[in-house]
């Protein structure tokens, strides 16, 4: 088994470690660095739950080896909110729009949307929705996620209230 020394920045903190060549970034972030917000849903690159940001890009941490992240800057879902607890706009939108239930798929979705909207980028509803094709959510039926995307993209100011309500008393 090959051992490798790695050094990387995770959520603004410097990390140094020794990893086996075969250890995935996801397992390293969870097991060695303690970022358990990184969720492993399939380990074969389909569900998107394990998505983190590596040098600003959304990456599936189950398909990347820890050794490949040597020298990189990684942001996990733990690294997005302000230290005072103010949520990242993507997190806030998902909260406002009931975009999660069990929350297992959520960290990956947050990271993908955060990567696409980083540095003031305004990718628009279509592109953000297209990016969701790489994420599986078994709970929500994607309704709140779609509303959150509209809120992030600014395409629907009433997004938080839901798409179409015809609420009536009996």
């Amino acid at each position: 088994m090959s051992e490798h020394k790695i050094e990387l920045t995770v959520n603004g903190r410097h990390h140094r470690g020794t990893v086996e060549g075969r250890h995935t970034l996801g397992d390293w972030l969870r097991g060695q660095a303690g970022y358990t917000g990184v969720h492993i849903g399939c380990e074969h690159g389909v569900c998107g739950a394990c998505t983190v940001m590596v040098d600003g890009r959304a990456v599936r941490s189950c398909l990347m080896l820890a050794v490949q992240a040597d020298g990189c800057t990684v942001t996990t879902v733990e690294g997005l909110a302000d230290p005072d607890g103010t949520l990242h706009p993507v997190q806030q939108a998902l909260k406002d729009c009931h975009g999660l239930q069990c929350g297992f798929c959520t960290p990956g979705i947050v990271c993908t949307l955060a990567a696409l909207t980083a540095d003031g980028a305004q990718p628009g509803e279509e592109k953000l929705t297209a990016a969701m094709s790489g994420h599986i959510c078994r709970c929500t039926g994607y309704q709140g996620i779609r509303r959150a995307i509209r809120q992030i993209a600014g395409t629907d100011t009433s997004a938080a209230q839901g798409a179409a309500h015809a609420e009536q008393g009996a």
Partner: protein, 925 residues
């Protein structure tokens, strides 16, 4: 009935009915949840399983020598090591399972993925390395895979005579009922083949177990309810001399899979006891898709007779369910029949229902386990509409149970007092302009575009307690801490349902405190009262009711204490926004904290005799059944070139009573609908003929993505239920009503081409076959069918061994010689005495002891079970005994036994009133 007015004048303290954001979200959105894989213990080791690569066979040898020597390996565990714990595997009903079953395979394997050896190592990588080096030798046998295989093939389990795991209903054709069916102007038959579904929660199964000295076993497990798991483990382990504490904070979805532990979790827990080290097992996705229990593989043929006006006269269902090798309780799914026509008016219904053992992953629950009743019935109603030539809405209007038909009781004993499926349908039609759609559809067809609209209606039992032993009421414990903050302990246990918000809404409203000040704790069997957790759409109805009652009780105490301290009349005290006010005396306003500090710390200032503190608890048991009603419509376009289905619109019109949080209600409906869409179009956990799973990753098991699910529209009716708070459950409905709504829309779109067989999933190739008029090849015949011919045989002779079974000449089994009287005497001697019997009830096998004493053609006896003992008298003919007896528990019915004795064994059946017939078997004591 009027819904409470939640629309206007909502004060700061009105929370029920509000679309408030969820309290759990900030934690989950920042990666601060605690799921089972996030639990780490000092000295913890990791588990990987060696699983059977074959569906059926004998284990010849297990060689662990190489694996044992691998670096980081601590133990290689087989069933021989676990046998000392003498575990009894239990069903969901906490009764022993029907067949011999051990945590790790014991000499035989019964499905691909069956765990055979457990490897324990320093980390999961090393455990998997070692697992791959365990050598197991098998003698493979022909696997029984499909329901059809089970009907004709050899018994899956050595300890059963056939593959019928459970049977209910009338197994013999009833000429009278057939005549009734034939008497209508129209007889409509609908067949549904439902594929196998993997519940696929995004968080797979997992457990971390550790002994805490000898007095406590601590189990962190992702589950639907920690108390239920603790109960299950305590009974399964034979009431060990230790407390079993089960903890589960955040759970990443369950959908029926995580009701209680199964082979792997039990093995890991026993491993932790054996090695006296904390052990962790986290299922990977391949294990989850191939070896976790699954659901829904079933077939049903529903027939319904209609009169000339399209009114229902009678109906019959023949239903079969694949139970796999080790179901979490052998199951004929009686609920399918209980609810088949519960939303409709129909004079007569009869059924036969069978569950079959096969060499596949076992059966577990899945959201709305009985859902096929709505699928087959609602697709039948549309087929009937086409066959009879009336509109699909009109045929429902003529048959649905409306307010005018209530109260009433269905032929299967379902009481209907306040169901509203017909009203939901009318509300739906106010939102969906069907006439405009029909015009659009006609125009589109001229262009070769195929649009369709589908409708479905149903009712759903929710929040049941008291009728099934394990589904109980719920306790809410609420306190105002001396800090003024409110803490409640409950056990409704969110799997993503948001109960930390909805229960807080119920309590905050009663107490008059800000929502932010209320915290709900659940997920620990060492706290709170007993509750089974999530399941049966029970959280809102039962937990909500308990939360309201406990909150009210505590609010009353606060008012009494405050009135005493402030010298005011309790009637004049109000609590708003955490402040205690006296009407007309604003200067007397106090914070809840001030009152709480006194209530705990200064007993002398309390009313005489009052218990200190601000704490209350109450247990709530709701009415036996609370029904939710709904009608849905979907509009689709089917691409005639590709067979792809595009869902263009979907409207849900449901009546789940008073809503605690409409956003949570809609989230539940949407999630269920998405799963329904997956069942109809995408998902299939199938097997090949040899029993190999064909969907092992999310690339083969296709879950719906954001592009497969449309934006849903919601119409809410809010008829308050009789439960506290007026709530009705809403957890499963979308998954029940979604499939027929979509299938009907697709069938409507393709009506110009002919009927669409409901053989799920409706893949593009199946729909193209309808469009092109080229029927798909029939399903291959079971290799165990008497007429099966082996297509791979070299010569005709080679097929001989698999050929038809030779006919036994009639009469060959008759006893030679002897008079009738002599035979009767022999038979009587073979009957008299004590027998152990097992009655296969819908809630699992019920053990009984019977004693018989025959006298000529009369038999007298006594039957004893844990429901009590009763004497009976009946008749004997040869070796056959028949008697009837009335019982009152669990409900008043007449049981008619018909048993045949043969040497030291007895087999037969028991007719159980409206529940049909159940199997009986037994041995001489």
């Amino acid at each position: 009935m009027n819904a409470p007015d939640r629309s206007g004048g909502i004060g700061a303290n009105r929370f029920i009915g509000q679309r408030v954001p969820r309290k759990e979200d900030a934690r989950l959105l920042t990666g601060k949840g605690t799921y089972v894989d996030d639990v780490v213990m000092p000295g913890m080791l990791h588990v990987a399983f060696v699983r059977s690569p074959i569906a059926r066979g004998r284990i010849l040898s297990i060689d662990t020598s190489i694996a044992r020597d691998q670096p980081g390996v601590h133990a290689i565990v087989t069933q021989d090591d676990l046998a000392r714990f003498n575990v009894t595997m239990l069903s969901f009903f906490i009764g022993p399972v029907e067949v011999a079953m051990t945590p790790l395979a014991d000499g035989r394997v019964a499905y691909v993925g069956h765990p055979v050896v457990m490897v324990v190592a320093d980390d999961r990588y090393l455990a998997e390395d070692a697992a791959s080096l365990v050598v197991v030798d098998y003698a493979e046998e022909d696997a029984v895979v499909s329901i059809e295989d089970a009907r004709h093939g050899p018994a899956v389990h050595p300890d059963t005579d056939d593959n019928v795991a459970a049977m209910m209903g009338e197994d013999e054709e009833d000429a009278e009922f057939e005549a009734l069916l034939a008497s209508g102007a129209h007889l409509v038959t609908q067949t549904v083949h439902h594929q196998r579904i993997s519940q696929s929660p995004m968080e797979t199964r997992g457990v971390v177990a550790a002994l805490q000295g000898d007095e406590e076993l601590l189990v962190h497990i992702t589950c639907a309810g920690p108390h239920l798991v603790a109960r299950w483990l305590t009974v399964a382990l034979g009431n060990p001399k230790m407390n079993i504490r089960v903890v589960a904070k955040d759970v990443g979805g369950s959908f029926g899979l995580k009701n209680h532990p199964w082979l792997e979790e039990v093995s890991a827990i026993l491993g932790a006891m054996l090695l006296r080290r904390p052990l962790k097992w986290i299922e990977d996705r391949i294990e989850n898709l191939t070896a976790s229990n699954q659901a829904r593989e079933q077939e049903i043929i529903l027939r319904a007779a209609f009169d000339a006006d399209g009114k229902l006269l009678a109906s019959h269902a023949d239903y079969s369910l694949n139970n796999g090798a080790y179901p979490m309780g052998a199951d004929a799914n009686i609920a399918v029949h209980m609810f088949m026509w519960s939303a409709y008016n129909i004079p007569a219904y009869s059924f036969v229902s069978r569950g079959y053992y096969t060499n596949t992953a076992g059966l577990a629950a899945y959201r709305g386990p009985w859902a096929i009743e709505t699928l087959v019935r609602e697709t039948l109603m549309d087929a009937a509409a086409r066959q009879i030539g009336i509109d699909p809405i009109e045929i429902r209007r003529r048959n649905l149970c409306t307010a005018a038909h209530q109260p009433s009781v269905t032929s299967l004993g379902i009481p209907r007092e306040d169901i509203t499926p017909a009203e939901c349908l009318e509300k739906l039609l106010e939102t969906v302009d069907v006439a405009a759609f029909r015009r659009e559809q006609a125009e589109a067809r001229k262009e070769g575009r195929y649009l369709g609209i589908g409708f479905a209606a149903y009712i759903e039992p929710t929040g049941a307690a008291g009728s099934i032993g394990v589904m109980t009421g719920e306790l809410a414990q609420v306190r105002v801490d001396p800090t003024g903050k409110v803490v409640a302990i409950m056990n409704v246990h969110s799997q993503g349902h948001g109960t930390q918000t909805t229960m807080a809404q119920c309590i905050a409203e009663q107490l008059g405190v800000p929502l932010a000040d209320v915290t709900i704790f659940d997920g620990d069997s060492s706290r709170g009262g007993f509750g089974p957790g999530a399941g049966g759409s029970r959280q809102g109805v039962i937990g909500g009711g308990a939360a309201i009652r406990a909150g009210r009780l505590l609010a009353d105490k606060i008012k009494t204490v405050a009135a005493h301290l402030l010298n005011a009349n309790p009637e004049n005290i109000s609590i708003e926004d955490g402040m205690i006010r006296v009407a007309g005396a604003p200067e007397m306003t106090r914070s809840l904290r001030e009152i709480a500090e006194i209530a705990y710390g200064e007993p002398s200032r309390l009313p005489p005799g009052m218990e200190t503190g601000l704490e209350a608890q109450i247990r709530y048991d709701p009415p036996a059944m609370t029904f939710t009603s709904a009608a849905h419509a979907a509009i689709v376009e089917v691409d005639a070139e590709t067979g792809f289905v595009k869902i263009r619109r979907w409207v849900s019109s449901e009546d789940c009573g008073v809503m605690i949080n409409p956003a949570v209600v809609e989230g539940q409906i949407a999630g269920g609908l998405a799963q329904g869409i997956g069942s109809v179009l995408l998902e299939e956990a199938g097997y090949d003929a040899r029993g190999n799973p064909i969907a092992a990753t999310f690339k083969d098991y296709m879950l719906p993505t954001i592009f497969d699910v449309p934006d849903f529209e919601y119409v809410h009716a809010n008829t308050p239920s009789k439960a506290e708070g007026g709530f009705r459950g809403v957890g499963e409905g979308g998954c029940i009503i979604g499939p027929p709504t979509l299938v009907n829309a697709i069938a409507d779109a393709l009506a110009p081409f002919g009927e669409v067989a409901v053989d799920l999933p409706l893949t593009p190739s199946k729909l193209l076959a309808v469009i092109d008029g080229t029927p798909l090849p029939p399903k291959p015949m079971s290799r165990f069918h008497p007429e099966w011919v082996n297509p791979y045989a070299d010569t005709a002779a080679a097929t001989k061994t698999d050929g038809p079974v030779e006919e036994v000449p009639a009469g060959a089994t008759l006893l030679p010689g002897g008079t009738h009287a002599a035979l009767a005497e022999t038979a009587a001697r073979g009957i008299d005495g004590a027998w152990n019997l097992t009655l296969a009830t819908p809630m699992g096998p019920q053990p009984m002891t019977a004693t018989f004493a025959t006298e000529g053609s009369i038999v007298r006896g006594r039957l004893e079970s844990n429901e009590g003992a009763q004497e009976f008298e009946g008749t004997v003919e040869d070796n056959q005994v028949k008697w009837s007896m009335k019982v009152t528990k669990p409900m008043p019915i007449t049981l008619k036994y018909d048993l045949t004795f043969d040497g030291d064994t007895v087999t037969g059946k028991c007719k159980m009133g409206m529940f049909g017939t159940a199997k009986v078997k037994g041995q001489r004591v």
